[in-house]
């Protein structure tokens, strides 16, 4: 389809109607119902937010950031991860990874859109944000940079995807590279949103900005397995197997590095003697969400890589599914643990226990909107597979 000089090569036979036709296998039906349920929960969650405002959320003065922010981070990290994976082929020219480029880049667009959709309902005044982000930019603010760079990043990703669709690999490469760089910058700024918080010793410092890039890469690899798994219904062609074996090995390396990161962070936190840090770290160590993160995002996937040497993509697919659950906990923990320690350690009411730890549990609205984010993501991705040819063009 052509609009002016823009040419969008839709998939052959794409019509609105074709959107609703798919092979009615039990799995597909299940996924369809699941997705619809998620979308419905988004609608319900948003309705709750619109009727009750922020009261629909369990965020408080002491814990102003809740699940929605965690889910936002989950999505934008996924996006950055997919962008990195996508870039392997079209930017860095690793031929093996070419086959996933388009899919990954499209995925990165979809995930960041889902992230934006979720955060839209966390930020109190999104319209004001658009205006004053420009009129009075807070240049010292990591959130400003993060938001602005992600905006740019999304633009570059779309352009890159456009050129990929049109098979203009040169331009795709240029925009891909720029997008990647901007994305990485945005991403480390997201880390610095936490890193800059000198009120919060547990997060303060250079750790998160770097760690974020690493975990993005890991997330990207997990998602690559999932995306390819769905694409080939776990029946991988030889070419994919080769690529996935490579990815699995990279993943093994990345996870190992991550484990080092986390171990050292924990050790320095606990034994660093920094007030407000070690007791928080000890508390984190004992929390089930952290244990879930370590087990699901690190230990299990690494075990699979090590035991199969990456040669069992189906197993890796399942490990990646589990891994993504672990990554979700990772994001949740990041947000929650940052706010664990009360800034005000004194009692301010007569009959109250002295504050010890800040508790938080997401409200139904927060959970519904978050689940909805996933629904949006799947739905958009599904529409993408219907509209565009996301496979590598033959003959290249």
């Amino acid at each position: 389809m052509k609009i002016g000089f823009i040419n969008i090569p839709f998939k052959e036979g794409f019509t609105i109607k074709s959107l609703f036709s798919f092979e009615k296998t039990p799995t597909n039906l299940l996924v369809a119902v699941f997705t619809l349920a998620l979308l419905a929960s988004f609608v319900v969650g948003v309705a709750m937010f619109l009727t009750h405002g922020h009261h629909a959320y369990n965020v408080t003065r002491e814990h102003p950031w809740g699940l929605l922010l965690a889910v936002y981070i989950f999505f934008v990290v996924s996006s950055t991860g997919l962008c990195i994976i996508g870039s392997l082929g079209d930017v860095f020219g690793f031929k093996d990874y070419m086959m996933i480029s388009k899919r990954a880049i499209f995925g990165s667009i979809v995930t960041i859109l889902a992230g934006f959709a979720v955060i839209l309902f966390e930020i109190g005044h999104p319209v004001t944000m658009l205006i004053y982000n420009v009129l009075s930019p807070g240049l010292t603010s990591a959130i400003w940079w993060m938001g602005t760079l992600y905006g740019l990043y999304l633009t570059f990703m779309i352009i890159e995807f456009y050129f990929l669709l049109n098979n203009d690999m040169k331009k795709a490469k240029i925009f891909g590279l720029t997008g990647l760089l901007v994305g990485l910058a945005a991403h480390s700024n997201l880390g610095s949103v936490f890193g800059f918080l000198n009120a919060r010793p547990i997060s303060n410092g250079v750790y998160y900005p770097t760690y974020f890039i690493l975990t993005a890469f890991i997330t990207g690899v997990f998602l690559a397995f999932i995306v390819m798994g769905f694409r080939y219904k776990l029946n991988f062609p030889a070419k994919a197997k080769v690529m996935l074996e490579g990815l699995a090995k990279i993943q093994g390396l990345l996870i190992s590095i991550l484990i080092f990161f986390v171990t050292w962070k924990m050790l320095t936190d606990i034994y660093g003697g920094m007030p407000n840090r070690s007791e928080v770290a000890v508390h984190i160590l004992g929390s089930w969400t952290f244990q879930a993160e370590v087990l699901l995002a690190m230990v299990l996937p690494l075990l699979v890589v090590l035991t199969t040497m990456g040669r069992k993509p189906v197993l890796m697919f399942w490990a990646s599914m589990i891994g993504m659950v672990g990554i979700f906990f990772m994001r949740y923990n990041l947000v929650h643990d940052t706010q664990l320690k009360p800034l005000q350690m004194l009692k301010i009411k007569e009959y109250q226990l002295a504050p010890e730890w800040i508790h938080y549990f997401p409200s139904p609205a927060e959970m519904l909107i978050s689940a909805g984010g996933l629904g949006l993501c799947i739905a958009m991705y599904y529409v993408g597979t219907k509209m565009f040819n996301l496979d590598e063009e033959e003959g290249h």
Binding site: G53, H54, V59, T60, R61, E62, P64, W65, I123, G124, H125, P126, T128, M129, Y132, N133, L135, S136, P137, G138, T140, S141, A142, I143, W144, G147, V193, F196, L197, N198, A199, R200, T338, Q339, P342, L343, Q344, M345, L346, K347, I348, K349, A354
Partner: protein, 187 residues
């Protein structure tokens, strides 16, 4: 133009919370435990009855520190948080997008969400109420039974606050964070 600050002779404080109510009434703050610009912190006494440790008891009145290097201002994406010409750290309701980053960044838990505007709010040194009318005291200072607070211009060497800071030892809270608070506690 001034550089407002506050001195707290906090040992006077009897935890009566007159300051908290005065602030709420003067500045139209909503009810609710988490909606406060000002508070008095206490700890649970240490020791066993009747051998309690008198020194472990503190009543620590506090509010926004109006940091000269305010982390809340640094992290604000839209410059909604700003330091006004009198050194008062304030929030512009027009610009605040309620990202709540500042709430996370303030080391003193001085900020909360104002639910009518759905923006972040905090102590303003009564800028838009009392000071705007030309008054020279804040509601919390004025009402205090034991006269804990002295409010005034730190740049004016003749002001009472400057004089007190010259002659009496004082400290500020979490000063290691480099926030340079303009609330001073007399020892």
């Amino acid at each position: 133009m001034a550089r407002y600050g506050m001195v707290l002779d906090y040992k006077n404080c009897i935890n009566c919370k007159a300051c908290e109510v005065a602030c709420k009434e003067e500045n139209g703050i909503l009810m609710g435990a988490d909606k406060h610009r000002i508070w008095v912190g206490t700890g649970e006494i240490e020791g066993q009855y009747p051998l309690l440790d008198l020194t472990s008891n503190v009543f620590q009145p506090s509010q926004c520190q109006h940091c000269d290097d305010a982390p809340c201002e640094d992290v604000c994406p839209t410059q909604a948080t700003f330091t006004d010409e009198n050194g008062v750290v304030r929030v512009d309701v027009e610009k605040c997008i309620l990202c709540t980053y500042c709430m996370n960044a303030c080391p003193y838990d001085a900020r909360y969400i104002e639910e009518r505007t759905m923006t972040v709010d905090k102590c303003t040194f009564c800028t838009d109420t009392r000071l705007a009318r030309g008054e020279t005291t804040t509601a919390c200072q004025n009402t205090c039974p034991t006269k804990v607070r002295i409010f005034g211009d730190l740049d004016d060497p003749n002001s009472e606050i400057s004089e007190v800071l010259r002659v009496r030892e004082h400290f500020s809270l979490k000063s290691h964070l480099g926030t340079n608070p303009k609330l001073f506690y007399l020892t």
